[in-house]
Symmetry: C2
Subunit: 647 residues, 2 copies
Amino acid sequence: MTVTSPDTTAVGGRPVVPSRGALRPLGQDEVRITGGFWGARQDVNATATLPHARSWMDRLGWTGNFTATGPTVSVADRRGREFTDSEVYKLLEAMSWEVGRVPVGGAGNQTTVALETQIAELTKAIAAAQAPDGYLHTAFGRPGQPDRYSDMQWGHELYCTGHLLQAAVARARTGGGHEDPLLAVARRAADHVCDTFGPDATPGICGHPEIELGLVELARVTGEQRYLDQAALFVERRGHRTLPPHHFGWSYFSDDEPVRQSTVLHGHAVRALYLAAGAVDVAVETGDDELLRKVAAQFDRTLARRTYLTGGMGSRHTDEAFGDDFVLPADRAYSETCAGVAAIMLAWRLLLATGDGRYDEIVERILYNVVATAIGDDGRSFFYAHTLHQRTRTAALADDEEQLGFGGGPRAPWFEVSCCLPNAARLLAGLSCYLVTADDTGLRLHQYADSEISTCLTDGREVGLQVRTDYPDNGTVTVRVTKTDDRPWSITLRVPQWAAGAELVTTYGRRHVPAGDIVVYRTFAVGEEIRLELPMRPRFTAPDPRIDATRGCIAVERGPLVYCAEAVGEGADLDTLRVDGTVPPVDTEAGVAVRARFDARGRESWPYGPPEPDTPNASPTTSLDLVPYHRWARRGPSTMRVWLPTT
Amino acid sequence: MTVTSPDTTAVGGRPVVPSRGALRPLGQDEVRITGGFWGARQDVNATATLPHARSWMDRLGWTGNFTATGPTVSVADRRGREFTDSEVYKLLEAMSWEVGRVPVGGAGNQTTVALETQIAELTKAIAAAQAPDGYLHTAFGRPGQPDRYSDMQWGHELYCTGHLLQAAVARARTGGGHEDPLLAVARRAADHVCDTFGPDATPGICGHPEIELGLVELARVTGEQRYLDQAALFVERRGHRTLPPHHFGWSYFSDDEPVRQSTVLHGHAVRALYLAAGAVDVAVETGDDELLRKVAAQFDRTLARRTYLTGGMGSRHTDEAFGDDFVLPADRAYSETCAGVAAIMLAWRLLLATGDGRYDEIVERILYNVVATAIGDDGRSFFYAHTLHQRTRTAALADDEEQLGFGGGPRAPWFEVSCCLPNAARLLAGLSCYLVTADDTGLRLHQYADSEISTCLTDGREVGLQVRTDYPDNGTVTVRVTKTDDRPWSITLRVPQWAAGAELVTTYGRRHVPAGDIVVYRTFAVGEEIRLELPMRPRFTAPDPRIDATRGCIAVERGPLVYCAEAVGEGADLDTLRVDGTVPPVDTEAGVAVRARFDARGRESWPYGPPEPDTPNASPTTSLDLVPYHRWARRGPSTMRVWLPTT
């Protein structure tokens, strides 16, 4: 592991800035997405999702809580669940990355100016709600409210503080700098947390990890060792069953076994992933390689046994939890959007620490099949959970109606518990930072999108790249050198595992390249192009036979996209669909098609009986169009399935 | 439909006494189980489960609530959740059926005398807790408690009253008669309910159906039309979304659509089944054949699409609900014991009303595979939920430890929510009543168990039978006539659907009999025997292909028993089990065996990839012993699966 970037000063728009690691993350001032699949989504995020979220949070009183529950106002005015403060903080974080994405003075200037005004106004309200000793939560501690930290299991106080810290860090890194007023609020809050829960104080932990991430990042921005120590302490304190018993079990709260002793992520998926990401941050900053290896091994096993084809995590609705190994039902797959965001946070930290390109693959999978799925074309409708099999068509909600529970398709405008929405928004606003990193010899491209890259290498040399691609529709990625000098450096490209037959075209010719990292190291010239051609043929994918829920089924993928069968019309369903697994899927004008038939229905009586030949009523197969999973339920109520039973 | 048994007087030990119907139920004074599979379980129920339940309810304060929350005692002393009153009532009901099973003066007399004492003592406490206007619930209405009926959605007040009424009816029918003090309490409570929720009063419904069942049965015992009318009103009032919105949806509370408009049981399984059973009671008593047909059709569709192989119902842990059609995951199958009991209640009512022998089959299936599974050999350990696939071995709880949540195997001594335990106990104590009915021409045997039957036919003639069998170990059922006269009558035997090749042996010889009801109508002689020989070969059973979760699997059944593979030892698991579906299962000394192999494990990486031949590492198959599902987890922590992947 190489120390690449000690960082005690606020720097241009990077979500995660470890002081050590194999790779150095680039900031929003170094990488800009200029169009394509993600560029369009970033624009929708800025123009639709951010104002939509702000408007709902105002309407529901979540932003107002910061002023409405001031000491002179009735506590009864406090609105929403105990974690709504965190949604406001996540929105602030998303707004901050958006400001970083389109700085004042750039294109889209007007939006940015408006965001700056909103950030200032919200920061003022939040600062006013902070107690003189630094404590900050709108649901606890005031007259008529429960005492501070009287419900560590469910109160979400440190969870909310963690998001406050992340928001303040984002603000500091996207223009606010060390003097930003939100950072001052965060420092006071963090000091209060350290005073209250430090090594010689109350040995508590929060029922929902998140404070760990916030504290480490705040330590990185401020250089304050105390915050890092407190984060490390919280990580070590977990797993000793100090929270009260609950019928979800201690695993739900990541309090059943110490982080170092776990072998796989388990319990509440978002809690487990946030904690693991925080533990990686702690491990990197403290040089705790054992902890890093343990968390990496847990994530490896989670990817091998507890992850959906889409990259989604969390099999259970009941406790929003990972299932046992290989329990990955398509029906009611929980796969919460937040777990997708959290898994990207974890994978990204592991990638930066280790440089292992496997983490790119899961980031990409989640981006295209969870994050892209979560948000409607209008940027104002959302999935919270991501089922892989929708059996009944459910009606759309009205634009002003919030979803109780997690619904099915179509997407809903808002949720009673709306963590996922600002979580996806903050990721999207800062997405350019997840495309490229710098290593000792040059740049590594992790995700492919239309983008402009301009940075300094470790030795201070200025280099620049322009990336042009229609990915993932098309597998051609053209990388053009826009800035270089007369010394050699490296451009590393990722060839995904699925891309058998990929080719690299350079000025020296065309050659086959295997899956993995392809390093082109030499002296480049400005204007020189490297072209990666990834074959985008649709392909069948089979599950590990130990995944019982999908036995006898195949899925279709094309590039990084998972596809699905969808039936939109009244009465259409996919119950009796059978796909001919011997005829490979093909590209069509409509997308991707397979050969399939619909069997006659079974009898309407006891559904178990003597084994019978598989196809008593087999009809001829016809062509069936599939759509990318991220596009399902965009045409209104539908039934859908990712895993397709074979003939 | 024939009116067979108008009943306005308390009669000997029958759980359900409709005034009309195709079949007349027999009472505990007419049918006695004398041994065998169910006789042993009834004894354990009496000697272990009833005292165990009483002891826990005393220890947890649930019985004490009736005295501890009297007007002069602090409300803070009230213990347990808002539905604990109902557990005491169900225990009282179970005790009452137990008194009916072994009357004072019979064998087991000492237990019965002790039960009478307990019943009297509990009745006295309950009567003392009743308000002067008849209202009775220990968690509402007193100073410091929430107002009566202030939380119709979750308060469970009418639910508890319904169980009080059922307990009082049981007591009246097992010796208490019309003058029993618990019946007097129930009448006052029912009058209060009618006064409060009658046609001209508050139009409320309870979040958990049950009051409907209690009111109809109380009407049957007392002849009070008002109770029946109120039950009918509650049935009609449901489904209009008058309860508040909730993220489980109105379906959870059986309040999403009127009973008459439903096409299938849905939402919370126990709620839906109790309501359906109450609706059948109302339909029968009011002559509402349309309602009867509707509920029967809903149950038919539920059996065809929403029922586990075990007869278990309810696919979801989250909201304890039926899943969509064909969503029947083996993993975490919810299949609550209470839903099994409730489904038997519904099936039994439909059987009595229609005489359709299909309902026998589901009753038998649930008895042997849910009810028998629910209770440990010691009568002091229990399953709440009935998974069909246990992937990890979970440790046993200590004898004095209650299960939070629903756990896996082994069985637990008690649950935070302990509805299932007294529910199974009340069913078991009164089980003899579910074996035999009388129709216009004679007797019908629905379930086979060692038993003595002595009753009068519709025309008043006295008849008697003795049944001897080792069912379900052995398929031979011998029915001996113990009482008859010189006129003909009928003995109807049930040949289950699985019993292809069954034979009937009478004094006239041996003949093959098809599945269905076999009527032997003639003049019998005392001592004459009819022998039914049901072939008990183990057999493979395949699921409807629309049940995605079990595709590519088969199960093994033998007679009414579902079998399972179980791995008890440390490290043993069933993840890679493959059964050879071409070699039929065989009886062995240990039970039933199939040919099976364990595949080599897959790779420990991303578990999705190009389709591969099914058996890259196929090893030779060996013999694998299976055990009856109801016996799983009796040897300590284990992994288990009912559905077996095929080679």
